[in-house]
Subunit: 293 residues, 2 copies
């Protein structure tokens, strides 16, 4: 079993580290939050005094951090200097593609294998160990990371070179954000036109309007009993998280000169929704704003 | 077998009437285009001199016309006056919800059963008799229309009261138009980020980015061999038809005070694409515009 350093034990990192411990890995944990660190220790991790202390002697380093700037700071400020020769670096944070590639290049220069491996599946998936990992990095690094990631997730996909894990995630989530708002607009227009939501669902779900947003995560209560609409839009995947991913997509589009008019509109609409105080609501709850509530 | 009047024998109406003839119905045909009328006669229809002549003595009247104004003119100018007592009226045109409800109310006042029954499935579906009909109108009228529509389509759905067939179609197609552009944006951003199209497809098609636009009608060549992207965007469903439906959705949204920011953006983007001379291209070809080609 591997000696693993785990940096960042928040809502996602905490349960992910717990699953590594359940799989009999040794985990040295660090988080700026004493409370988060405490919970990891309670789950069986050893407490590290700082990032460098956690990383020292580890065969695998896993990070789960809020944004690109934290990833740059943690890797360039501590991990790359403290990591043992031959250590494997896995960044599970969802960050901008540029930062992911920048840090991966620095790791390569230091002679270390690294992958970016952002996740989807939320806190529920992290706890159940059913996350999807979208992984960017060289084949050899992916092959080393896969058995570790399999202790925390069910679906481990290699998306190509460094940064491509991030690229895959924001491309997927940009499609999702756009499609969800479009689905919300259709249901609210249907309501005003006197077309029953269940009728629209029955028709569109077997036609060209079908999408995961419609048939797995329907934004009106009723047609899909498991969707957040049936529990007053309790998240799920929060509107704030969707806004973060849509903003990362806009950063990426700008950096490579891609045109994303619908992606930009979706980012602006989620910005309005989050700005109105709905950041912690499930992202499908944007239907309330579309409805004028 | 029924005596049917069929008004409007264009790309869609022509093959639909041919399927009624194949089912041994008697069809009296009329079209302003001599060529379209000629083709229907060649398929076995009898030639009518005008709308009133076609409708006279018919048990069922079917119309397939370009827009709301034509439907108003044809019904209020001829059909309602000429139709036999007890005749069933079926308008298969895709038109604005307001016109559909206006004409249905006039038919009801004249004591005639009427349904709006717009289709999806395109010329291919019309020819093969596999169209989907989205039907609005009273239960009794739907029950009468169903066996007739079944000779031209495979999926006959009752969407509720008069106008709801149109409402269902534009709600579905608005979701489709929005989702398709979002999918195109994701693929073009992925390309510039160095993420392989097949990889993005493999990931998103089993994740929350999944949609019919992605998995049945993928806008890049390769992942879905039957999609128009693999035949240089030969339609399929033309960009001009998608623009028409998105504009009808905007009309409907305005008429009932529904907010459709993504629907409006999609309509504007298809307007740009069609305006650049690409109206006859498949609607998924809008990816060329997104790509800057």
């Amino acid at each position: 079993m591997a000696k693993i350093a785990f940096i960042g034990l928040g809502n996602m990192g905490g349960p992910m580290a717990a699953n590594l411990l359940k799989a009999q890995h040794q985990v040295a944990a660090f988080d700026l939050s004493a409370k988060a660190l405490e919970a990891a220790v309670a789950a069986g991790a050893s407490r590290a005094a700082d990032v460098a202390a956690a990383v020292k002697g580890a065969e695998v380093v896993i990070t789960m951090l809020p944004a690109g700037k934290h990833v740059r700071e943690v890797y360039e400020g501590a991990v790359l200097g403290a990591a043992a020769k031959g250590a494997l670096l896995i960044d599970c944070s969802t960050i901008d593609v540029e930062s992911a590639r920048h840090v991966a290049a620095a790791a390569a220069k230091a002679g270390l294998d690294m992958v970016d491996a952002p996740v989807s599946g939320g806190v529920g998936g992290a706890t159940a160990g059913t996350l999807t990992f979208m992984v960017g990095g060289p084949d050899a690094a992916f092959a080393r990371a896969k058995p570790i990631l399999e202790k925390m997730g069910r679906n481990i996909v290699h998306a190509g070179a460094s940064g491509n894990g991030q690229a895959a995630k924001i491309c997927n989530n940009m499609m999702l954000g756009i499609t969800m708002i479009g689905t919300c607009e259709a249901f609210m227009m249907a309501k005003r036109l006197g077309l029953d939501a269940q009728k629209l669902f029955d028709i569109a779900s077997t036609a060209s309007g079908q999408s995961w947003a419609l048939t797995s995560y329907c934004p009106v209560p009723g047609p899909v009993p498991t969707s957040p609409a049936n529990r007053d839009y309790a998240a799920g995947f929060t509107a704030a998280m969707m806004l973060k991913d849509l903003m990362l997509a806009q950063d990426a589009a700008r950096s490579v000169g891609a045109s994303t008019p619908m992606g930009a509109e979706a980012a602006q609409l989620f910005s309005l929704f989050v700005g109105s105080g709905s950041g912690s609501v499930d992202f499908s709850g944007i239907i309330r704003m579309i409805d004028g509530r």
